[in-house]
């Protein structure tokens, strides 16, 4: 009686392992992501990376020194308006020449600055599975190529190029519904080790300290629970942050922004106690989808780099009480 399910299970396992021979097991995947996170934290390097996002391509210089438990990092934009951050341990200092600076950074968001991957390994592996694709060269270095395949149709796949020797993430790419690169980070030049000039760690712009906060696991504020019934959120997404925003020139209007993340991508839900000018329904630009749901005196607007059905599901999950 007990044997039968076991036989079935082993048959099923055999079949599934044949179907996806290159799939990593959960412990292997966890180990790999943890290795990437650790390498991003504990490796000294200096290099230049490219960031492609939609129709934008930007280059950044990045330097990191990790020695004797001390971590220092500096990153600056090389084209366009000057932007820079300097990190000492967990303290960030920033400079933006073009936009007014956000003085509060979210810890979860900082854990995703390239070449970090994510700090929420469990969340990521709940929604994605890792598959090894092969080997390629990035910035003159040999890398193993992996893909994070979504377990459902609610998100897009991501591809990772991981340096063999150090475990450092050399390149990462988010693919859209047609497998087109949506967002790519890639080192174009990288030198491992702490042999660089220490002057490279000195800020070149007048940087200001930035407060880092974490809002993970906090309950909803401002009585949101009593105003909105939230249920059937797309699976795998966890509330990461809640921000109250006042649109420019409209002091009375308070828009709640809820930021959800599955560990890799984020979706913003805006709860607006008014009817906005946007056309209701689904709209997209590249891989970015926008869904506007109008209700009497209320609007739910959802924005994120996820498939159209996901933003629609998010919008449907919020109902005024």
């Amino acid at each position: 009686m007990i044997r039968k399910p076991l036989v079935l299970l082993s048959l099923f396992l055999m079949a599934s392992s044949l179907a996806a021979a290159e799939l990593l097991t959960a412990p292997e995947a966890t180990r790999l992501i943890e290795r990437v996170n650790k390498a991003a934290q504990q490796t000294s390097f200096d290099g230049v990376f490219m960031h492609q996002h939609g129709d934008l391509v930007e280059n950044f210089r990045i330097v990191q020194l990790a020695e004797q438990g001390q971590e220092m990092e500096r990153c600056e934009s090389l084209d366009g308006p000057a932007r820079e951050y300097v990190r000492t341990g967990q303290q960030y200092h920033m400079f933006h020449a073009d936009t007014s600076l956000a003085l509060v950074l979210d810890r979860a968001a900082t854990s995703r600055f390239f070449p970090r991957l994510t700090h929420r390994v469990g969340d990521v592996l709940a929604s994605y599975q890792l598959r090894k694709l092969g080997r390629e060269r990035v910035a003159g270095l040999d890398a193993d190529v992996y893909q994070l395949d979504p377990k459902d149709a609610l998100r897009y796949p991501h591809r990772l190029w991981i340096h063999e020797g150090s475990g450092l993430l050399l390149k990462s790419m988010m693919l859209g519904a047609r497998r087109e690169p949506v967002e790519t980070f890639s080192f174009v030049q990288l030198r491992l080790g702490s042999g660089f000039d220490r002057k490279l760690l000195k800020p070149v712009n007048p940087v200001h300290p930035v407060q880092i906060e974490t809002s993970e696991g906090r309950p909803l504020q401002a009585g949101l629970d009593s105003q909105w019934q939230i249920r059937d959120l797309p699976s795998g997404f966890v509330l990461q942050k809640q921000v109250v925003r006042t649109p420019q020139g409209e002091k009375g209007r308070k828009v709640q922004q809820l930021v959800y993340s599955d560990g890799l991508v984020t979706v913003s839900v805006f709860l607006d106690p008014s009817e906005v000018k946007l056309a209701p329904g689904l709209a997209r630009q590249g891989a970015l989808y926008l869904y506007v749901r109008q209700m009497p005196g209320q609007t739910v607007t959802v924005l994120g780099e996820v498939p159209g059905d996901t933003v629609r599901q998010f919008a449907a999950a919020f109902n005024p009480r």
Binding site: H53, S77, S268, A279, A283, R284
Partner: protein, 170 residues
């Protein structure tokens, strides 16, 4: 079994362009008769495409293409154009050279393509039906709030072009 193997061999030879005209005609008429051969034909091309890293077409590509082709106006060419023109003769060696050069380029691309296999296609996404523009200014505030919360603090807050296209409800 033997017959099957030879069918496959003939089909493979056709795919590689190793058959002369008469043989090719024979295999093509066989191919038109046999659903099994057609499946093999499509599968082999799909394998070849994925080995070369060519993007896979959406499964309904052929249907969409055929319907668009039917919608194309028929061009009725005047008979006069068929008359041989002296320039044509000169053009032949040139075009031959051009096609050789093209094959050379294709091969070079094939050789230097990354070895990463193209993964299986995702679920089919139906093409958006564009009805009107979404007001970019109205979206901008949402977009920058989202970018600020989600992205690296160094990437630009907004894309250069803001052109949201509405999508028809599925």
């Amino acid at each position: 079994m033997t017959n099957q193997a030879t069918t496959n061999e003939r089909l493979s030879a056709l795919m590689d362009g190793e058959l002369d005209n008469a043989q090719a005609q024979a295999v093509i008429s066989e191919l038109l008769q046999s659903g099994e051969m057609q499946t093999a034909w499509y599968e082999w091309h799909m394998q070849q495409d994925s080995q070369h890293g060519h993007p896979l077409l959406s499964p309904d590509f052929m249907a969409a293409f055929t319907s668009r082709l039917h919608a194309e106006p028929v061009v009725v060419a005047p008979q006069r154009l068929r008359r041989a023109r002296p320039v044509r003769r000169l053009l032949v060696p040139l075009t031959a050279a051009a096609s050789v050069a093209f094959i050379g380029v294709a091969l070079w691309q094939g050789l230097y393509r990354p070895l990463t296999p193209a993964p299986a296609p995702l679920a089919v996404v139906s093409e958006p039906v564009v009805t009107a523009q979404v007001d970019p200014e109205a979206v901008r505030a949402y977009l920058s709030a989202h970018r600020e919360a989600a992205n690296s603090p160094l990437s630009a807050a907004e894309p250069m072009q803001l052109a949201f296209q509405p999508e028809a409800a599925h």
